[in-house]
Subunit: 340 residues, 6 copies
């Protein structure tokens, strides 16, 4: 079986229960998540060997984050312990016309203050077949970007496939900074995941006529974006996720995979949202699973899309679904009939 | 007032809160339910005298099940105490494209290991006018099927009307076993409740063109099924429930009553699901209430359908609605306006 | 900045959690709310100076109500302490075809048994620019109606603008009583808020063709109602809210402002309801904010409508939104995209 | 088996969770209880036939109170439905040096506004062997005192044994009022339950040297009180409970039974308090059980004391213990070893 | 580092929250635990490599049990998946004079119905240094006793040290059955853990004068028991735990280690009990840790006793403490001062 | 009435519920607290005008902290908004021999990164009579120490009384740093609060024979410490708190006031701990209340001690008690009898 390793930040997620606003929260649900950690957990739930690398403080709250990964069988043996704090994000779930709110409190976290010598990449990566990261990790600060670059170089040297989810976060860096750093890192990436906004904001690649907020999706535009990305960075595959937000409760979800000059589109899922955080990460995990299991391009993108569709029905960052559950949806049963 | 008695299993229902998956559940909601118990509770909520018969262990968890019925005024005086365990079902509520999951842990329960001598049916049934059971009860095992047959014989001898909800459960028996046993029991049944799937799986009765998963309902097909059932078993009335599952959150609900060669259809309710377990049972209870209160066939099926529509908006197995609430919906107000 | 003061009852609101029915509630969510208090809180959340006047018992549960207002910065210094009890309302949230239920237990509350000498209105109102009340307050009983009249006289003497939300409650008084009392009070009112039902029930003003339950809205009819109200009572502005109830979960919300002979309509919001109690109050607060901040009539009604649309996505009576959040929706983004 | 019937008020009890103060309570635990209802529930838990009589509003919160009694098998068929409200008491649990706080909101409850014609006592009491009430019931107001007197007369006429728990509540009436009313009622009472304070406050009977707050118990004084009570009212038996409060968490509990000129004392239980409300009622129930089951005076007082000791370890008003559990403690095992 | 492996049953533990009785539990806390699993978790928390072997059903509730162990880093790779159900125990926490209650529902669990061929012991045990089991495992039924015997033989063949906690459970087998089976197994045991009751009930070894219920501990008696055990079965070390139950809330805890003819006693800890289930298991884990880390006999028994003392302050079966925390208590600081 | 103002940090306090360890916490109780904020809240609960000054981020979590103070009526108008984060402390409540654990995550908080120009002290302090701070505030970093010094100078210039609670936190600074900074600030302090450990660690003042862990209190030693402090810094009054920790659940609490050469001691309270965080702060508030209300030295120290004794029975940092409740305890009733 192929082994996957991901690198990034795992944060403490603090969220009021249900649809409570921050000002109503006497208790906060305390879970853990972060782009690359979410991918590792989802892959472990698919039965794969998945490792996650980060740095976490040695105290009990850091240990909780480690435990939350071990719970799913994620290999945490390369997590470095040290530093002062675990990053936090506060999440308030939106409803109807009221959007979800995220407040980040991640500066000065252990991973944000990690040093290159914390990670011996050739040692860490040994025995793995696939390395995954997102644009959030290098955005933490230039030191972490440098660590990421070292990881990518080591991965290439070991012949490891590399995937990246662009994931532009405007609170972490400017578009110019993102462009500079990510352009350098793209050289090592085989499979790119993005949404149209990401491509535009990070690389200035446009798909003119599309208005994401109104949910009008233009296939041609997305193909154009994928083609431009492929041409500029020589990716093997580019996957683009297309979210149409009707309200905070209702989204339509579909994706496209562009590979070898061909675009593969998927069904559009009308989703009632339980929790949309981690939706993109679950797509990445689905795609990695599919591509390490010899699925055709169309099957792969269908699998990844169904996996991420299901994530939207699950509380927390992590996608708690099995391959069998994804396949049931892929094969067309989204009716939600009781499985007795 | 007519008195109704039902016989079957009541289980401990253990469910994660809200939309949590099993793997997220640090606490489980502990309620009680089961097909025939649900009918008894609903009838008690309609103001009727309702009794429930089963066997439950003498320990505190068995007592809880008894208490959960007494709470609504159900007569529990014929419940036999003994045996080792109360059956359990674990329920994970689905959302959007993710279906609900049920894990049964009901083998070796007190009722499943009950013996014929536990129940003195002529004594138990005395003073009642209506006996109700579902296909789940004889499916528990041949001994319980034999007990059920004894009950039916005693009921007939006392001139008690008998209703049965087919409720095929593939985890409890094969279609062949179901056919053999249920065919024998049908001789004693006056009113049959089923969904199209049940009729096909238990008795091999087909309604060709209908695709339940896609929610296309063909009136003619349902009439054909009811007619075949009536002809084969000589039922006085056959009621068929028609569930169209859009997603785990959205179902369309309608039903049909076939009596004296005529089919009576109802409005189709677009339901936001709070909890669909017990939806069929609440229909059965509504039908029994209506048929014991001199409603016309059309009024009866409308009442039963509205009652079960409301059930889908209520947490737990039990239908906690009054006759007045059902009548409000029957009379056309499904707008959900606040009752101040 | 303009200062607003409101007068009325604040109650303890006891509600089962989630969609539980009263019979399932082992714990009740205990919050506080009431028409005029809700308006004051919403205005404080908009950054305005807002005061609330009432009478509350001196015990801890009365103090909780005071604290719940101070939490938002509402000025509670004119609240009179005394009397025996705080009014209560029990709220059961509806779902799908099942309506919400309200049980009032507000008789004999401190404010319902208040005496005119409890309130020195010229003193209390000094320094304020706007006085708001609803039809619920004078409906409590004739003494409170008399106190309200004193407040209105004092307000007029001080040149304070007065707004009133008709809010007819059939459990508190008859239509005839409401007509008699409210007609007298209308003399002092500058801005009236109502829904079509209120106008008909309190003042017998009809808008023939409209069928509220079916959600068909006839613009002409609403204009006719507003015009009749304006002519009869000489209001400066009349705002009418138009709620179309599809189910307990889905409402469409729009409103109209009639001023200087012109009617201003708003977009219609398709809302998934989290909690609709206080929806009308949040509209009133939005309108007061807009009219004290020099918005045009169209901008004002748009602001008030967006504010109240957002309220429906928030648990509890209080509208916990900022001006910025309302403006985001006014400007057209109701897509519920995550605000990172 | 002997049948017991009790008469009084059952209230909604609203309590912050754990040791939260009222000002910290976003949710309130909603249970039901009241002196005489508590006795009926405890007797039902001992396996006796127990009925409870009161008046409750017809709405859902009144029904909840009925259901809370049916849950235990209490016969609620004589409960009258009508009136406006169910009485409420707010309870904040004390800890260490901080005492528990009770806020009553019971005025104008259905039972407080009941009329003599609501209760046909000869009909209600028929078939019962024992009637129990507390001093709280006649204290509600003179009308309820008159209803109580009617009940007592009917009970005497039917040869029913009558017990009364004095239970003086200073917020309901003055000592003079209590003396006047209770002196009249005592004529019908066979078994009196009191604490020393009650006897002094209601009947002015003193036991000089005892300082209850310091927990010094003087056997002679209690005998003297019992003797005086017996002489004045001709009771068959007088039971006195002796609570020594160390802190809100730690009480010492013992009691005395005075019968036929002899005083029977019990062990003193050092209790860690979980919930002391209903402690006295559970004693009353234990005594009634014992006296209707032919226990000796010493056995009876021991049983009642052990029963009430256990109540202090149980949340809520109701004593949820079986006869077997009480007997285990009577026989000396208070070690709390796990029962596997 | 030494590697430890344990074998037995892990159950779903369902417990009402706080001090609620079973009849008050609308939600049940769902955790996992069992004698040998508890030992493995505690050792993992001490930083050791610990494996746990059992059989669990393949469904989600079985997976939860696996995950609950992985959370702490326990190696679960030898857990066999299959069978129908996970064993359950219902736990009601006692308070004051009211004892905790346990209801077992563990018959027919996957491990109870396991077959010898499910476990390839030489393969499973390879690389481990210590094997631990309790008397509960062979008590499940003769098949599991046979499996245990196979494990012991394989362990001996591999030179693995074996420890056993007698843990007599009267609901699982008779004293005679226990004696027969355990006597055979003792041949393979190096380190025995017991309480005085166990030794008497399983092996008929008496320590005359001790009255456990009254908490009178007689050192001489315990030495005598240990000496008899050692002589009969040739143990290397015998550890005896001495629990003095004052109430369900207050226990005194001490232990004795008997090795090489010498008895080592520990301090007596006055404990406020948070949760005493797993107290004995945490002692076993502490002892294994100490004996695999070259502690002296006195240090070892002190460490194990402090570890298990701390367990009593922790909710759930698992002992969530680190070596550092145990050492702090060993070194005498049981004052509970805040660690800032 | 005297007006009090306090200055320091208010943090988000995240605590597992009940006695759960960090590793068991799926939800964290989210409250707010900090030394000086706690004092302000307690004073507001005593009915005083109390202001709190700090810097908090402009986002929703910062607003929550403001609201948590306004809830009690604390004047928050001088709180500066800005900066990136609100400080956090994670609290795990200890039990029995297991100590409470605190993990601080307060670096880089808005107040820790505040600049002198954020606070216009002469403006802020105007109209106040008393200024209070603790040793935690200058310990945050030298900039905040400088801001504190500015505040003290401004206070002196305005003739405001100054109190300080030494509160040494070894995680924030070394003893040398504390000595240097605090010695400078002491010049402005009129009333000092400390425990013996603080005095020794910050100022090197010893009270030889006392062993705090064993709870042996030596009056003479405390007098000696107070005398030395007074002589060195010329304080008007010195108060010393004496905590004897038996276990995490049981503490004995007493204090001493040294004024004008005389030492005033208080009763020793045997406390069952609900939450001991904020215990010292509640003492400070009690002392300030007493000293601004003309109590004698003995009455003042008794009041402060009773107030802080009660705090230990209350969840959260804040002391939610009234003057009346404190006086009840001062007057000797610590029996915890129910207040009906």
């Amino acid at each position: 079986m192929k082994k996957v390793i991901t690198f990034g930040e795992i944060m403490l997620r603090l969220a009021p229960q249900g649809y409570y606003r921050f000002s109503q929260a006497d208790v906060l649900e305390a879970t853990y998540g972060g782009g690359e950690a979410n991918v590792a957990v989802s892959l472990a739930n698919f039965g794969m060997d998945a490792s996650f690398v980060t740095k976490l403080p040695a105290h009990a709250m850091g240990q909780n984050a480690v435990n939350s990964l071990r719970y799913f069988g994620v290999d945490t043996s390369s997590i470095v312990r040290g530093g002062d704090r675990i990053g936090i994000y506060y999440l308030e779930k939106g409803a109807s016309q009221r959007p979800s709110q995220v407040i980040y409190d991640r500066a000065h976290s252990a991973i944000a203050e990690a040093q290159p010598e914390d990670f011996n990449w050739p040692e860490i990566l040994k025995g793995h077949d696939w390395f995954h990261f997102t644009g959030i990790t290098p955005a933490l600060n230039p030191e972490v970007a440098a660590i990421t670059l070292e990881a990518l170089k080591a991965a290439k040297a070991l012949g490891i496939t590399v995937s990246c989810d662009l994931n532009y976060r405007k609170k972490l860096w400017t578009q110019q900074e993102a462009n500079d750093t990510m352009s350098t890192l793209m050289e090592y990436v085989d499979v790119l995941i993005a949404n149209e906004e990401d491509a535009e904001k990070v690389f200035g690649i446009h798909a003119d006529a599309t208005n994401v907020d109104q949910g009008e999706i233009d296939h041609e535009n997305y193909i154009s974006v994928a083609k431009q990305l492929t041409e500029r960075f020589n990716f093997k595959k580019v996957a683009i996720t297309l979210r149409e937000s009707i309200t905070a409760n209702d989204n339509i979800w579909s994706t496209m995979l562009y590979a070898d000059g061909t675009a593969y589109f998927t069904p559009r899922y009308n989703m009632h949202i339980v929790d949309r955080v981690g939706g993109g990460d679950s797509f990445g995990a689905g795609l990695i699973y599919a591509l390490t299991h010899d699925m055709s391009n169309q099957d792969a993108i269908n699998f990844a899309t169904a996996a991420s569709c299901l994530k939207h029905s699950i509380e927390g960052d992590f996608n708690r679904v099995t391959v069998e559950e994804v396949m049931t949806l892929v094969q067309g049963d989204g009716s939600g009939r009781v499985q007795r």
